[in-house]
Symmetry: C2
Subunit: 451 residues, 2 copies
Amino acid sequence: MDQTKIFLSESEMPRQWYNIQADLPTPMPAVLHPGTKQPVGPDDLAAIFPMGLIMQEVTTERWVDIPEPILEAYRIWRPTPLVRARRLERLLGTPAKIYYKWEGVSPAGSHKPNTAVPQAWYNMNEGVKRLATETGAGQWGSALSFATGLFGLECKVYMVRVSYDQKPYRRMLMETWGGQCVASPSNETNAGRAMLAKDPDSPGSLGMAISEAVEDAATRADTKYALGSVLNHVLLHQTVIGLETLKQLEMAGEYPDTVIGCAGGGSNFAGLALPFVRDKIVDGRKTRIVAVEPAACPSLTRGVYRYDFGDTAGLTPLMKMFTLGHDFMPPSIHAGGLRYHGMAPIVSHLKDLGLIEAEAHQQNPVFDAAVKFARTEGHVPAPETAHAIKAAVDEALRCRQTGEKKTIVFIASGHGHFDLASYQKYFAGELVDQEYSDEMIHAGLGTLPQV
Amino acid sequence: MDQTKIFLSESEMPRQWYNIQADLPTPMPAVLHPGTKQPVGPDDLAAIFPMGLIMQEVTTERWVDIPEPILEAYRIWRPTPLVRARRLERLLGTPAKIYYKWEGVSPAGSHKPNTAVPQAWYNMNEGVKRLATETGAGQWGSALSFATGLFGLECKVYMVRVSYDQKPYRRMLMETWGGQCVASPSNETNAGRAMLAKDPDSPGSLGMAISEAVEDAATRADTKYALGSVLNHVLLHQTVIGLETLKQLEMAGEYPDTVIGCAGGGSNFAGLALPFVRDKIVDGRKTRIVAVEPAACPSLTRGVYRYDFGDTAGLTPLMKMFTLGHDFMPPSIHAGGLRYHGMAPIVSHLKDLGLIEAEAHQQNPVFDAAVKFARTEGHVPAPETAHAIKAAVDEALRCRQTGEKKTIVFIASGHGHFDLASYQKYFAGELVDQEYSDEMIHAGLGTLPQV
């Protein structure tokens, strides 16, 4: 019998997260205070994050223990299956083996609960009563609503307007778990009101919504802020994905030639990739590790590696990252979770060091790959995930050309149950692929802060 | 570590379906020709079903081999996890143990692919090019679109109008897999046109949609009909659920005191229950086995055990079953998958023999149980599934009263990702529970055929 899925038992689940900072050939650039432009310390972040997470943000310990209550909540859906995509391989006629790590089995339908659960727990553990956050496609807001519900916290989600309108079910999902969701820009914060004054019809952006959530948290004593991607502690939590995948591949007698993930803020990509990056650094593995982004928001492939704010209003510390400028307003592509002007500092650093690669794709070929996947492997993927599928399909087709029997692993970060309107637009031929000129892509670079 | 999920490996998957007909204390009543009222033979069914499935409909062999291509497709999502609902237990303060068999991990999000895949395969195997079917909530239509896609068949789905309007994403899901979906009653069949002439605003019903799909299949040489519940071969395929559950419980050192499933046509209930019914018959087990239905469509609890048609137009053979009459028009409750006038003949027979019980619940307490489940166990269940949850919660609360440490197992037949509008109505207080008088419930009994 040809095995399709590789399951781990719960007792084989990782009990520690992996911290790439322990193994970097050169350390991460400092995070700077937005006013003084001096390196920030833990105390500077205490207004919006609990100390447990701040310490994870800066630690250089290689392994960080996962507290038992978090493991217990992980066991609601983890370990997730690693699946051999035999039907997709057959369709493509490739000699390559394609595996995907399927994070769509989580209650919120994506990898996001891997960090939502620890973030909610560490906040609860320090007496925080309420979390404020932003969400793009809605995956993160759903995940945090789910996680805060488990630990009895309130949750306020600022959802990018264009997704709020396109995906009403995402809001309903958050509310079913007890979360509260408003469209961003909203009238509920100074940042939101300022944005609405400038453009009452603003479609919103992740950067804008972050400004609103950070302001909410900074101005309420009972509230902290939670970010679904970008930051070091978020990527740390997501490494359960890659650690499980390593074990599952070992059970199958495999080691990958190519590791692929889509990249918006960078957390699902890093969650799969970081343990494999470690093997490149420590064991000299030659794995090709690829971050895939949309052509409409190509921070890694066409951005600059500079200090920038994480949000639009310039409230966050300055992080060195590949960025299109915090003023960059990405087109309303349907992969809302990839519409972010910057990239996680860790992912950016690895790209700068040449340890990972990046590529960008247009919407229509991405949806074409998604439909190929859905009609062979069954699961309908999120449009974000479909970017990774597109890159995996391309790699498998190259193997058909060359005859190479590569082993390709990608992360299927979530299902597309709330994204079906985008599939309809694709089938109706309503998705437009366009060339993005340097002028468009670099329009936001003029406002980069001087550091 | 307290184990939460019990996984089987793929090599532990059942390789045979279980046929309760081999173990019944009295045989099933004959199925009758709608014209002659004489027992039908295999040839009478050949116009709408392939012979492979017809033989499964009538066989009394105890074990039926699952062909390898079906096993291979099952491995896309099977075996499914059995989950200990520890968080729900804690919320209820019950000494009972609650397990749920989680079928929501399938690509279509429910148990329906367990039979959609074999039905598609047996049809393909006999050269059929196209399948016609009906769907209520959309679970079955999605599942068959997924399955026909795997084996290269076309698929036409007649979807009950009220669900078609409430759940546009279900239609989009079918189309993503290549299926074609129309609202029923439609203008595409004689049965549909007749119904529309009678009531242009008809909300439709499963019985109506079945009439349309049967007519489609009977009038096209390239097309057969596929039914998502009720029939013996459908229940046979679903026994993979109960067979896996038996193994998983054995791994946990458990045997259930109470087995629960929601029942519309009866297939998810039977899929879990039949192997446990066997243990009652063969080993004298005393398990309480409970089918749960909506108060608005209570065939098992308030219907009569009589010969009736499976559809509204009276095109199908006559089956002895608990029925509210094939003319019964259930109110537009949100558990669309449970809006069926009859009940699977096997389930009806077991109820008549006293081997299973039934209970009925109103919508609001059902959604209350669903939200309790979502906020503890994470997964947002389908409204159909929520009926089983309601019964499991009630049983667990009884155990809190009595102190009994019962082991309760229920089937979580699917997720509610496409049912969130119903949750919103529940939160908004817009769902109405009403007493259904005998006059309302038995309005359809006057047209029962004389046999």
